[in-house]
Symmetry: C3
Subunit: 348 residues, 3 copies
């Protein structure tokens, strides 16, 4: 994957890696996108933004310390789960010096988890935000045993919605628009239409197709949540959208080439990941754990692993995913070289 470095000195390179790490939370290998993501988080909650930076820097540094290949670190692949781990702990726990230390340990560990998942999957699948989900569950669970960790007073509640029955009347057009904009914001565990809007702009800068996928995914999430009778407040807050957004970005032209068969797969996966969110909220509720991005991770992992047994999906896997636009161009070039109009495919 070719890539222009913004800086040539080590400090500048580390800043570049950190910003790309933040960008990779939504699978965008672009420091400017990452920077705008941070701006969006700052607007919503500046303490969270500092924890996000702490997590990204710690995870990236730990990966370098234990000898991770420089090209993978440069793509931000070790940073993104640090970003989310920092955000997750900052959002569910109250800030104090202990939480700072706790976050550093968790962010160091998330680099180990990322490496372990990479090794298990090899070239068949990507770690995505799986290391964040595992690490944050492991560290949030301690909240109920350790007396010196304090849960956010108001929070936790929106993530543990209750069955309120069908209530379509209370959900209008303005609620739907709010929910669609809050979807991208909730990927970073934030709430706020301006934050969501900045995230969409940040996506559009790197890939208009990914931006469109995010909007469509968020809309499907809102629609599915409404159709199944989820709590309107939760839909409005974007809770039924953030897994749909990530799934739509990942499967919408990025990890598969755009084609009618992969678009069908993406729509199916977006629907499933939304259903799963409501399901996991209920199933994990008694254990006191939030669903996080587990619905996106589980759904997308299964779709990627299924390529091994389903040749038509394998045929539309890009050689090396860059952006939806980059994938299309590479596929067209390869096709024109062959002069046959065939789509290229990865060989297994």
């Amino acid at each position: 994957m070719p890539m222009r470095q913004m800086f040539s000195n080590p400090a500048g390179r580390f800043v570049d890696q950190t910003l790309r790490g933040v960008g990779q939370v939504m699978l965008q290998n672009n420091p400017i996108t990452g920077f705008l993501f941070l701006v969006g988080i700052f607007i919503s909650d500046w303490v969270s933004a500092l924890y996000a930076i702490l997590g990204t820097v710690t995870a990236t540094g730990t990966a370098l310390l234990f000898g991770a290949p420089r090209d993978e670190v440069s793509l931000g692949l070790y940073g993104l789960n640090g970003t989310l781990t920092g955000l997750g702990l900052a959002v569910y726990l109250q800030h104090d010096m202990l939480l700072l230390a706790y976050t550093i340990v968790a962010s160091m560990f998330v680099a180990i988890v990322t490496a372990a998942i990479k090794d298990v999957f090899g070239s068949r699948c990507y770690a995505l935000t799986g290391p964040f989900v595992i690490t944050t569950w492991l560290f949030i669970g301690g909240l109920f045993t350790y007396g010196r960790l304090h849960a956010m007073p108001a929070l936790g509640a929106p993530h543990l919605t209750t069955d309120v029955g069908p209530s379509a009347a209370a959900f209008g057009f303005a609620d739907a628009v709010t929910g669609i904009l809050n979807g991208p914001a909730q990927v970073m565990l934030q709430q706020g239409v301006w934050t969501g809007a900045i995230f969409l702009v940040a996506l559009a800068i790197n890939s208009p197709i990914s931006c469109a996928a995010a909007v469509l995914g968020s809309a499907i999430g809102v629609g599915i949540g409404w159709a199944l009778g989820a709590a309107p407040s939760a839909i409005r807050e974007g809770l039924y959208g953030f897994n749909a957004v990530l799934t739509a970005i990942a499967l919408g032209g990025l990890l598969f080439l755009l084609h009618r068969i992969t678009v069908l797969l993406a729509v199916l996966a977006v629907c499933v990941s939304t259903v799963l969110y409501g399901s996991l909220v209920a199933v994990l509720g008694p254990a006191g754990l939030p669903a996080l991005t587990a619905p996106f991770v589980v759904t997308t992992w299964l779709c990627l692993l299924a390529r091994g047994a389903l040749p038509r999906l394998r045929a539309f896997s890009p050689v090396e995913p860059v952006t939806p636009e980059g994938n299309r161009m590479a596929a067209q070039q390869a096709a024109s070289k062959k002069g046959k109009g065939e789509m290229p495919c990865t060989k297994r």
Copy 2:
């Protein structure tokens, strides 16, 4: 695996694949067995039977759409988990138009899960009913968050038995016979001695040994449930039998050649899968999830994966499992060719 197709035209072939899919729920590659399974379900609950057909057709069609190899689809390997997913959703949720759409999405997704598990295991293990368990858990969990999905009023209860203490007195010979016949019926999430009896006949048509294994497995399940002091009503309803039935069929001559060492393994696995049922009911209870066939899947997966490290088990793995009878014949032919009386074994 040789196989006669009942029909040569595409529609007939699809009917054949669908019926084999239903038959493969109990590892029987036989459309007549599958047809009798459907008859048994119709007798017990015709709505469930329609959902079973819907699930099988959708999963089989999805697999073909995404390019699954025709020979695997023809064996019914993509259909069986669709059958069970349809049954699972029909049994736990109330029928309405929303449930129809929900079941179609779930049955499409179960084909993806099947492909993913096949790819992860390769030739070392089989997916069995694992995709059904995963998908149904993910879709049933939503019951507690989504206001427009409605749980069956009476149901769920039998699957969430409570500790009622030793009560051997209340459990007589008639209860035991009822329990043994209900065991096979519960594989399809049904209850009824006639349904169980039809299932046994359907098994006997394809493989008398599998039928005998099912009866013995169900009896061991009832015995273990009684010895450990499970609720008599649950034993009578076949709930301690259905995982035992599946484990006995799978390990009793089908996935391992019959031999005293593999019979010991099968008996051990049947006991463990029964214990596990009671254990999972308790462990999954707080999360609101039923055990489904997870005890069978976990136990059988572990026994199959153990072959890699235990050469004596590997020695009795048939080259390509067909039926217990077919496996025996293939092994004897291979042995007589060698003229040494040795059992053939798969090479790894």
Copy 3:
């Protein structure tokens, strides 16, 4: 791994294998260490000690029956999880004839689970005490469904600690020392400073470095538990130490060569495994399951699997782990042969 057999006759060899199995609970391939572990358990609770022997013998015998390679059985690798399964069931359930049969079935099954995990990991990772955790969870869960299994009246309670808030005042130097000595004892699910002291002596006989790692690990566990505000009684009973002890032994010179980078990894892993203990106690509480050694297993598996993606960790993996002392010696000899002072590393 060279090894002197104490006995040449079959019975003596089986005794040797059994004692090594007990020793391997703390990764010590030494029958005298194993014997002293049994002595320590006898002092604390002789019924548990008999169940430990029953479990080890059953698991070892089952592995031999199903054809496990003799050299692996001789190292005690199939026995250790039987030891712990016997202890786990004896500690959580009341002794009677039914529990004896239950323990035999569980210990036979743990050999299958061990083989399955070995096959899944291949040379990339070790089973450790993972089979014990899985099997014991599966068999303890039945406690709540089966009326003829009886939970220990007093027990279960210490393993289900509750959030009691910061209480540093109530935790003095004597409490810390008690906690540090109880840490190794809790590896075998026992409590008692003498038992812990005997275990440390047993470790020192086979490897002084492992003994030092156990003491340091236990101390870190006590420190982390105290710093995070865990219940003082639980810290004093060694509950925050036993996962730390196992993680420190495994990563402290045994599965990685001692080096500043691996010492940092070991300290990180010890901290994480301690945090995880408190987390899993809370998360598994509603399901009625204890944490057992799952925190050690999860943390150490992740660190070992991470070697595939982190070359600096791979560089310090011993060719074949023996003891920390043996690893150092082998590495130095290999280095002097090369005459370059380089550390040898396993090739992948």
